[in-house]
Symmetry: C2
Subunit: 382 residues, 2 copies
Amino acid sequence: MSVPTTTTGVSTRSGPAAATDFERGVLNFSAGPAVLPESVLRQARHDLWDIAGTGIGILEHSHRGPVFDRVIEEAEADCRRLAGIGDDFAVLFLQGGASLQFAMIPANFLADGATAEYAITGVWAKKAAEAAALYGSVHVPFDGKGSGYDHTPARSEMTTAPAAAYFHYCSNNTIYGTRWQAPPVSDHPLVADTSSEMFSRRYDFARHAIIYAGAQKNLGPAGVTLVIIRRDLLDRAVRKLPPMLSYAVHAKDGSRHNTPPTFGIYLMGLVFRWIEAQGGLDAVERRNEEKAAVLYRAIDESGGFYRGVARPDCRSTMNVTFRTPSPALDDRFADEAAKHGMDGLKGHRSAGGLRASIYNAFPASGCATLAQFMRAFAAANG
Amino acid sequence: MSVPTTTTGVSTRSGPAAATDFERGVLNFSAGPAVLPESVLRQARHDLWDIAGTGIGILEHSHRGPVFDRVIEEAEADCRRLAGIGDDFAVLFLQGGASLQFAMIPANFLADGATAEYAITGVWAKKAAEAAALYGSVHVPFDGKGSGYDHTPARSEMTTAPAAAYFHYCSNNTIYGTRWQAPPVSDHPLVADTSSEMFSRRYDFARHAIIYAGAQKNLGPAGVTLVIIRRDLLDRAVRKLPPMLSYAVHAKDGSRHNTPPTFGIYLMGLVFRWIEAQGGLDAVERRNEEKAAVLYRAIDESGGFYRGVARPDCRSTMNVTFRTPSPALDDRFADEAAKHGMDGLKGHRSAGGLRASIYNAFPASGCATLAQFMRAFAAANG
């Protein structure tokens, strides 16, 4: 395997990546941390030793030096271009994953006695609501528990609070494999946890007040969180907070209030470039739909052997969830698939069943391989 | 350059590293993120593509899978061995750097109306005290501002509060190049920010209630924070907190309440192994003393051309701070040194002057090179 060499400037650019970027053979269906583009890994292997001909690796450069200046500036610019957002938003690279955002959002914007809306479409959405309840009142417009979190709600299914600081939802539910086909309609500012589908499709990012995503599913390594926040919110914090929990501080200091997770930001920047090299969000979305359709077809055409967890109109293109006729067969499926080089197909421990996470970097050929395996397994065990 | 291949098990073991681990030529004096052992980088380059023969890279493995199970278990075990601590302490790998610890410590342990002691020996110690003041009262036993933060206090210089939840100090002050030669004596539980010197010397870790260190100086990449905390403190939180700010939650969930910074933990584990391969803390400490002595000698024998910032009895072995006769000459020094392959010698923007950060992974030969340059520069400009 050849490691590409950087010839000029700071090498946050990955080379043009083939759509068949898939050398290692093992199919990694992990829900996150998850598969990354191999061209990104190649570039990272190079830059770990020496980035941009400096004789110093990306892990070892000061977060205030010229090399990292360019890394973070380019990552931010590329993110803005992909998201289609301008200077009315701040783009922040933070730590603590979506889980710290669960606390930071209400800490900053939900005053004592005020109400925020939290649509509960799965475990993570519920955790966000629980963290908010420590700071103010939570109104739940929809709770999918009764229907096994098999769908995201239509507007008619939701109640609404007369006044709310914001409406929080999880755009793609990793565990159940459901998604909101479009942002919900609400009279209140929209706040979205997009961790498991960020930049997997065109989306109306600019309609939101805050969008956030832990990187480790579709954007990069664990340990960096992308936060896109409307600037006019920054000076509206409802309580005094330590600097590390204040969006205003992070925005003022350009995500460098303290030492940021430099490698995570660097790698996220490489992934942004890779998405552009793939043809941008339109091309990535089309490919993701095709990939998911291959698996959903294998479910729907199995004569009932496989049952999809998500209601068909709410199916995710990132996490395809399904069950065989029994938990014992689910286990056998995962074990046999692993023997065929397909890793990480067991469902989340809270939901059971099977789950194929097929993020942007997951190769289309891998979906075909799994679909073929599904058909053979059903024939042998049906 | 050959990339070592893992033959068995999970490759968190770096190969035996030569003390002269220094191939790249550029001398990286950055205060952090900072130089890492080259053998660690070699192993990471390998494992980024494929760790332990799994066909999946370290960035892409689930944080709940068997590979990462071993990575985090080994990192914790190695940390315990280096620190000489047992099961009465929890070892946590968190996010947010020392700066988030500045908030988490008082949020967990400083009740409204209660007092904590904060010795202010520099900018970071002061920031810790400021964050604490959001939660309770802060008593300052010592403030080094009047003496330009040139030393850490003797016991006789400190006032004491009759009752305090804890005594917080920063064991090594990166910006000023001072350190506490030994942990302070206090009637209150000791809490230490050891970010810029963790595992650079033997230290009485077990005498502390909490020790924490952002990794990016002496332990690994930015984005992971090592926290060693006495277990009996875990159930003594003084207020209800969101899970991500609760030490009890992180301890109960083994640093995996949410997705942890898997790569940072992996790399920190490699660095722990590297320290052991160097002969452990005794050997590392001896080498660090020798390295620092080379530079302090160049300062002290310059006939007054260089002035050390730190009082000699409080000198750090990690950050050697000094000034030439003028700020203009400081700049020229840094510029000329850079031309000779010595990077990152400018002092912190808040302090000016010059600073050579020579963490564990910085080669001894680099200190000799800098000392030689210092003598030549003084001769040419004195």
